[in-house]
Structures are given as structure tokens and as C-alpha cells.
């Protein structure tokens, strides 16, 4: 049966974040989610000059996965991600492709000198995970500020949107049908 593979990279797959994220992805995307251990060394994606991990290289590793029936792969990591020209990214996805990666590093309130807020962190991770998978479905950024596909370039912007696609984006995804039919 087709499924979405969630690949924890430097990420505690038994911690409090995993279960709610898996449930949210299953509910929103209408597709079973299975945890898949990384089959590559993520350290190859580390850039010593920046002290960050290059998200495009992680995507390349995720795309080179051994075939196992997964129609999409979402890497989830606690390390800080970047693309060469930008200071950081919350995540990166292959537009209309099969792989995406999301980082929790800059989603935690502690990062900004605020007290920890586990519920807020879960909500942010859920939204960014769905957002990146949305790009793999061919969705571009949405004007609707409440839609999960609305662009977020700073963390508070994530809090303003919902963890759901707007009607327009939803109709473009065809939801699980789209995932299953276009994923391979």
C-alpha cells in the first residue's frame, strides 16, 4: 500500500513531536505515514563554514531512497538548514516532486529567547511539514494568509496560518488521490 515515509534525521523519533505530526499528516493528506530510518550519512550535508546543513543535499539523499512503496518522503530534522544564498530555511521541497525536508531548529520559541511552549512547537512543525509536502504536490505559495501554503519567511507568520489547505489549494492537490497517482 502506498504511504508517506517520514525520515527522522538527527531527530528523536520517540519524542513528543513525532506522534502528533504523524497524526496530522495522515489526517490532512489522507495517507498512511511510516517512519523510515535514514539510509545515508547526514553529516555529508554539513557545511563547516556556515555551521549549518545544506537542505538541497539532504533532498538529494532523500530522492535516492531504495524503493519501498513510499510515494513521498519527508525528512524531519532538528538541525539548522540553509540554501547557499539564504541565511536559513525552515524547509525545502522538490516542487511537484517526491521529497521534502523540514527543520524544527528555528520553530522552537527558545530560539528567540522565549520560554518553551511544546504545544506551539507541535503546531508549527505540523504546519511546516504539510507546507513542504504541499510543494511536492505542485502547490506554489498561496495569497490566502490562513492557508497552510501561505509563504512564511519568519516564524510568527507560521502562527497566523492554519494547518489546512484552502479550498483552492485543496482542489489542486486532489488530496490523497493526487499523492497516490502522481507520486511514483
Amino acid at each position: 500500500m502506498s504511504h508517506l515515509a517520514l525520515v527522522p534525521i538527527y531527530f528523536d523519533d520517540r519524542g513528543p513531536l513525532v506522534d502528533p505530526v504523524v497524526r496530522r499528516l495522515e489526517r490532512t493528506l489522507g495517507l498512511p505515514v511510516r517512519i523510515q530510518r535514514p539510509w545515508f550519512d547526514p553529516e555529508e550535508c554539513f557545511d563547516a563554514s556556515r555551521g549549518q546543513y545544506r537542505s538541497t543535499l539532504l533532498l538529494e539523499r532523500l530522492l535516492a531512497a531504495p524503493p519501498d512503496g513510499a510515494v513521498r518522503r519527508l525528512g524531519i530534522t532538528s538541525v539548522d538548514l540553509f540554501i547557499p544564498i539564504l541565511t536559513f530555511v525552515f524547509g525545502e521541497a522538490q516542487l511537484d516532486g517526491t521529497a521534502a525536508v523540514v527543520s524544527t531548529h528555528r520553530l522552537a520559541p527558545e530560539m528567540y529567547g522565549l520560554p518553551p511552549d511544546p504545544k506551539l512547537l507541535v503546531a508549527r512543525v505540523e504546519k511546516e511539514a504539510i507546507h513542504e509536502v504541499g510543494h511536492t504536490l505542485g502547490l506554489v505559495h498561496c495569497f490566502d494568509g490562513a492557508c497552510v501554503m501561505h509563504a512564511s519567511t519568519y516564524v510568527e507568520e507560521i502562527d497566523l496560518k492554519e494547518a489546512e489547505f484552502c479550498a483552492g489549494c485543496l482542489s489542486q492537490t486532489g488530496r490523497a488521490g493526487s499523492l497516490a497517482s502522481r507520486g511514483r
Binding site: 544564498i85 536559513f88 506554489v140 505559495h141 498561496c142 519567511t153
Partner: protein, 450 residues
Amino acid sequence: MSTATQTAGILIVDDEPSVRDSLSAWFRKDGYRIGAAEDAAAALRLLQSESWDAVLLDIKMPGMDGMELQQRIHEIDPTLAVIMVTAYASVETAVQALKQGAFDYITKPIDPDELSHLVCKALDHRHLQAENVQLREKVEELSRLDEIVGESPEIRKVLALVDTVAQTDATVLIRGESGTGKELIARAIHAQSPRRYFPIVPVHCGALSEGLLESELFGHERGAFTGAQFRRKGKLEMADGGTLFLDEIGTISLKTQVELLRALETKEFVRLGGSRTVHVDFRVICATNLDLEKAVESGAFREDFYYRVNVFTLTLPPLRERVSDIPALAEHFRRKYAQQMDRAITAISPEAMDQLVRHSWPGNIRELANAIERAMVVGKPPQILPQDLPFPLDANGAEHAGETLDDIEHAHVVRVLERTHWNVTRAAEILDVDRVTLYNKIKKYGLRRS
């Protein structure tokens, strides 16, 4: 709603493949159309083949660097928003880039939020500039239409013909002496035609040499001739959907007449140096102050081209034949220049107006406009006086007739006939001649009531 409608084009120029790829992927997710070039040559090729709204340009590149390329881009399209990108900050480079017309300057790595806002701002700026140009053209066009002034039977007849022909798609030939307002009439026809929401594109054929005129009309491909570094659209293409106004058509060379005739008949042409046929749809309005029939006889104007353009002819009367319009026209120009120059000249004195009415105006309305403009400069508020006008005066303050006795008689007979609305009996009384003599004068000068 998705951002699928957002189709602005962003060109990324950087020699590092990873930067090009990551930026392309980043902006594609915002729904933009993306182009990527690894060096200046590739960027120029993309600039030539497609239209872009913003360019992200790396300063350090092998070969032609970003600063030089930015200068070239500015020459090609000064409204294109160029954002300079570099790995290190240098105040001098930033200042130089901005002086050269760059929109802004950023250093790598860039904060995602800053990049996103900067690009949005650059695109908004570009959009506003384009809108500003459009609005200026519109205002200019509207203000030009206002300049058709006059209530004389001659001008009323012309305006009635404009109303009639504007609704059709017929080719119009506007004839008239220099300065009679042929371009204004062409714009009036366009403004009342179903094509009014598309541009009217004037081509002043007399001002250009044969080669330049062809390039101006048909456009050219890159490398069509020395100096043709980029593909350029011609006026025929720019007039697509609208009106092509060919001014001074009598000056076009025989060779260009052949090319133009083919384009006007088929609405198809090929750009200079090109091979692809371009299809266009436009209406043609031509104007001339030359005797085209004579030019056909002498072989300077092709007969087939003459019949192609001479479909519906509008003849504009010279100002000396619409003397009754002179006061209204003079007053119109006084108001216009008073506003433009911010001068408190609120009237034209009766004596000065009398001078204006009596002058023969060989340069027609253009000469009248210039005379009033000059008077507004040299005159003193509150009104224009005879001495402010550019006519030499005799001891009685009357204008020196620089013309022959016949010219003066001709102009005077026309003036009196106008004033009496062609009541020959009344005009003969004023002129103190009998009616037969007046009829002989009318015949002699070929005068006709409009």
C-alpha cells in the same frame, strides 16, 4: 486561492550553479516565472528572447562582471529592476551600482524575509513605473484632443467627417498645409474609433533616412545591421490592435513604399534580418502636405501605394480660410500657455486680436500657437498688446503685408465673406464693389463656401 496568476518573470544571474538552482527553486514556489544564466552572455541572450520584471545579479562573475552587465541592462530597459547580489559588502560598489540605476543591493547570505520583501518591492516599483508611463501617455493624448478648437463651418465639416470615418476601419489620408493640425485630427479619429483602447503609434516619415525608417517601421532582429545588438519591435508591431499614423507620407522612398504597401495590404511583414513572418492588425491614417497626384505623375510616389492610402481623404483648411476661428484659437493658446508658464496674462487686447485676425498665417495654427507663446513671454500682465506679437507694425499700428497685393486682396475678400456668412450682396457692400466684381474675385481666387 493559489498564486497561479502571479506570472512576473525573475532572471537570476550567478556563476555558482548552487545559487542559481536554490534561488530558482525558492522563487518558483512563489509562482514566479524563472530564468537562470551563468554569465553575462547567457543573461543578455535571455533578456533578448524574453521579457523580465526583475534581475538578481551577482557582482562577481568571470568575463563581464555584474557591474558592467547592470549598465548594459540599464541601457536596454531602464525600468527593469536590478538587484545586485554579492558575497561581501562594499560601500563603494554599492554606491556605484545604485548610481548606475540598480534598484537595490544585497549581500550573501540573505535573510529570506528580506529577499522576499525586496523582490516584492522591486516588482511593485516596476509595475508603478509602467502604470505611470501609461497614465502620462493617456493624459497627453486627452490634452491633445482638447486642442481642436473652432466653430467655423470649415472645421465643423472636418469634425463631422471625423465622426463618420472614425467608426469604420478605412484608411484615412489627411491633407493640409503644414501646421493645420493633421496629427490632432488623426488622434481624434483614433480616439473615437473602436481601436481607442489600443495605442496610436505615430511615425514621422520625413524625419528619418530610408534605412532608419525601415528599421523603425518593421523592427529588426539582433545583428540585422551594425549596432543592432538586440531585437527591437517596429512601429507596425507596436500599433497592433490600434492605429498606425504615417505622417509626411509623401517623403517615403520608392523602395520603402514597396515594402510598406505589402505590409499594409497583407498585415504581415518580416523584421529586418529576420525570417519569421509577424502578423499584425492595425488601422492606417496617413498625412501629407504634398501634392501626391503630382508626385505620382513625376514618378516620386508609386501609383499603387497612392491608391492604397487614398481611400478616404480629409482636407484641413488653412487658417486663412477659417478666419472666424482665430479669436477662439488665440484665446485657447493664451489660456494654455498662461497655465503652463504661470503668467497672469488674462486677455488679448482688442487691438492685438485685430492684428491676429488680419494676419495671413502661412504657418497656420502652429504659427498662431508660436506667436501667442512668444507674446506670453515678452508681454506684460494683464493682457497681450499688439507690440507683443511678432509682426512688424507700420506707423498706424497695422501689420506690414509681406505679401503681394493679390495676397492681401485674397485674404481680405475671404475675411469679409466669412464675416457675412457668404452673403455676397452684403460682402460687396462692405468691400464697396458691385456683386459682379465680387463674383469675379471669388472665381479668380477659387474661393468656395464650405
